[in-house]
Amino acid sequence: MRLTVRLFAFFRDGRFRERECDYPEGTTVREIITSLGIDPGEVGVIMLNSRHCSQDQVVHQGDKLAIFPVIGGG
């Protein structure tokens, strides 16, 4: 199945900003994070289709996944 993965801040360094990726059915967000060489402990916020989700969330065909490190501002 195919979904869009978007990375932000320093997660983009040496990786990508946005990419269409293929993963098997039943893949979790954590598995995607690990497959990208990102330490799950460094992840601050994950949004699936613009809603917050956990790393245990299973993704589906056509989803848009956004992965952010720990960031803040204001």
Binding site: H52, A66, F68, G72, G73, G74
Partner: protein
């Protein structure tokens, strides 16, 4: 040097240095400005008349070596909102005033004649002088000329043409360590200083130090505190991308107010994002990391150069970039930087003015996306004080009334900042209940609603939002009294060593023994003092409401409306 109150009477053109009343001793920063305004200003007075007072106060820890303790608070009755107001900024003034033994400056009265003045504060005295050369000049010219007159080490507090013309979005600017500007931005306090006919205040450097009751305890607490700030991953990201790192995450959450608050996502978000800004800064030999006051270890400021690698602006903040960017649909960072620089020079709040531009775009005054038009209006209308410039320079509410626009994002007539309350309910509670009109910094629920700091509360749900906003507003009122930058809160919310170290520093500075509960009580007392002032000025719970359109116009992409009931909002004040 013992702390004193410096009182400046602009009616009589006299100054006095007074003992600090016992009731004010435990206060600093916002707690002190609000306490003094509540004690000495008639709540029903005209904010631009002789009865209003402008109070300037360093924080409880300002002037010490405590990390991030260089914020200065300005307070008065706001001409924009009609409420009590405090706005704080970095720069060098807080630390310099504290070292001169200044607990607060109170500027009262109003000159009878059509003359302008400057004020010089040094180790000997407070002196009022007539000012002619700098009248009508921008803030950068004030800093430059003051440098020639007094030397580059003097601190400067100044207003630009917007403050002189008493525009309700006028800010008060503070010179930073590089001779650039930081702003006490919100609520039109520059107009209050303009109404007092004070163009600028110069503060002489001193070798004096603030007294520390227990230096050893202070040093140790500061070591722990500084480590908590430096180790915090949010501090590290702020030093790399600045506050503008938020553009992409708030856009992703569908809460980035776009096209005058008619959508929650902006197609041009990548072009104005913190990531893009970082790359531009590096490519043009600017500085991604920069401190707005000495002793800051987070360094969220930056120096943004133009295409010729020349300085364009610094302190290029998310709120300013969002407002001119997404809200006005301008996707060109260079034009936004130009407008930011112009607003610094004119001395006008980037949030209020840019949201006002968005309302003006809806009214057809200029097209959405017209960044050149924004710069033109700033130069030719606002700086020149034309009728259109004054309408926009008096804020979003002013533009809405002048042009008959109904989608006007204000609470208590102050522009709503960079998070749509329909898609982040907690911040809507803060906008509605804040004692100072819509202001994200009063209770930054984005931390927990969006960023996962201090827990997680679904931004679209109603559950827990009132309590979240209440707890953060209480904590913020206390932090704003210390002279600390509010960004210490990110460490404080998730690192158990941070807040106790802060309390230890206050205790070591003054030889007292506050507990964490005492600090919470301080925050509650400040909120209640501010609310009582507003109630005496005529405000009721009916003013704690968001504009009608938030209930009626669903915000894409989540297609949500503001659905917190009046009873739910009013429960905010159920605390003792």
């Amino acid at each position: 040097m013992a702390d004193r109150i410096f009182r400046i009477n602009m009616t009589e053109l006299t100054t006095s240095i007074e003992e600090v009343p016992a009731d004010w001793m435990g206060h600093g920063g916002r707690g002190l400005t609000s306490t003094i305004v509540a004690a000495e200003v008639e709540p029903t007075c005209h904010p631009l008349g002789a009865k209003n007072k402008l109070v300037i106060a360093p924080g409880l820890l300002s002037g010490t070596v405590a990390a991030n303790s260089g914020r200065i608070s300005c307070g008065a009755k706001s001409p924009l909102t009609g409420t009590i107001k405090e706005a704080n900024a970095g720069g060098t003034a807080a630390q310099m005033l504290a070292r001169l033994g200044c607990k607060a400056i109170i500027i009262e009265g109003q000159p009878r004649e059509d003359r302008w003045y400057s004020i010089l504060i040094d180790e000997e005295d407070v002196t009022i002088s007539e000012e002619t050369d700098l009248v009508g000049k921008g803030n950068f010219a004030v800093v430059e000329e003051a440098g020639r007159r007094f030397g580059d080490r003097h601190g400067i507090i100044t207003i630009g043409p917007a403050g002189e013309m008493k525009m309700l979005a006028a800010n008060i600017s503070i010179k930073d360590p590089d001779g650039k500007l930081r702003s006490c931005g919100r609520g039109g306090l520059g107009a209050v200083l303009g109404a007092k006919r004070v163009k600028f205040i110069a503060i002489a450097p001193t070798d004096a130090k603030v007294e520390i009751a227990d230096p050893e305890k202070f040093r140790e607490a500061n070591r722990v505190f500084t480590k908590a700030l430096v180790d915090n991953p949010i501090s590290q990201a702020l030093g790399t991308y600045g506050t503008n790192v938020l553009v992409n995450i708030i856009n992703e959450a569908g809460a980035l107010p776009t096209r005058n608050f008619s959508a929650g996502q902006f197609d041009g978000h990548e072009k104005i994002s913190g990531e893009t800004m970082h790359d531009i800064i590096v490519e043009r030999d600017g500085r991604p990391k920069h401190n707005c006051h000495p002793g800051c270890v987070i360094q969220c400021s930056q120096i943004y150069n133009d295409k010729d690698r020349k300085y364009k602006t610094s302190g290029f903040e998310y709120e300013s970039i969002w407002a001119m960017g997404a809200d006005c649909c301008v996707d060109n960072l260079d034009l936004i930087a130009e407008a930011d620089h112009l607003m610094d020079d004119i001395g006008i709040d980037t949030i209020e003015t840019s949201v006002a531009m968005g309302v003006a775009m809806e009214a057809g005054v200029l097209e959405f996306g017209d960044g050149e038009g924004i710069c033109r209006i700033l130069r030719e209308e606002i700086a020149a004080g034309t009728p259109l410039g004054r309408i926009i320079g008096c804020g979003a509410g002013s533009v809405g009334r002048a042009f008959g626009v109904t989608r006007v994002p204000v609470v208590k007539n102050q522009a709503i900042p960079a998070y749509d309350p329909r898609a982040v309910k907690g911040i809507g509670i803060t906008y509605a209940t804040s004692t100072q009109g819509a202001d994200h910094t009063m209770g930054y629920t984005i931390a927990t609603n969006i960023l996962g700091v201090g827990g997680n509360i679904d931004p679209l749900g109603k559950e827990g939002q009132v309590e979240l906003s209440r707890n953060l507003q209480i904590a913020t009122a206390a932090i704003d009294s210390t002279g600390m930058c509010l960004f210490i809160a990110f460490a404080a919310l998730d690192d158990a060593t941070c807040l106790p170290a802060l309390v230890d520093m206050i205790n070591a500075r003054y030889g007292i023994s506050l507990t964490a509960d005492d600090v919470t009580s301080l925050g509650k007392t400040i909120l209640k003092t501010e609310r009582a002032f507003n109630q005496a000025a005529g405000f009721t719970s009916r003013d704690d409401r968001l504009p009608e359109f938030f209930r009626e116009e669903p915000l894409p992409p989540h297609n949500v409306v503001w659905d917190m009931t009046d009873e739910e909002i009013d429960a905010f004040w159920d605390f003792s």
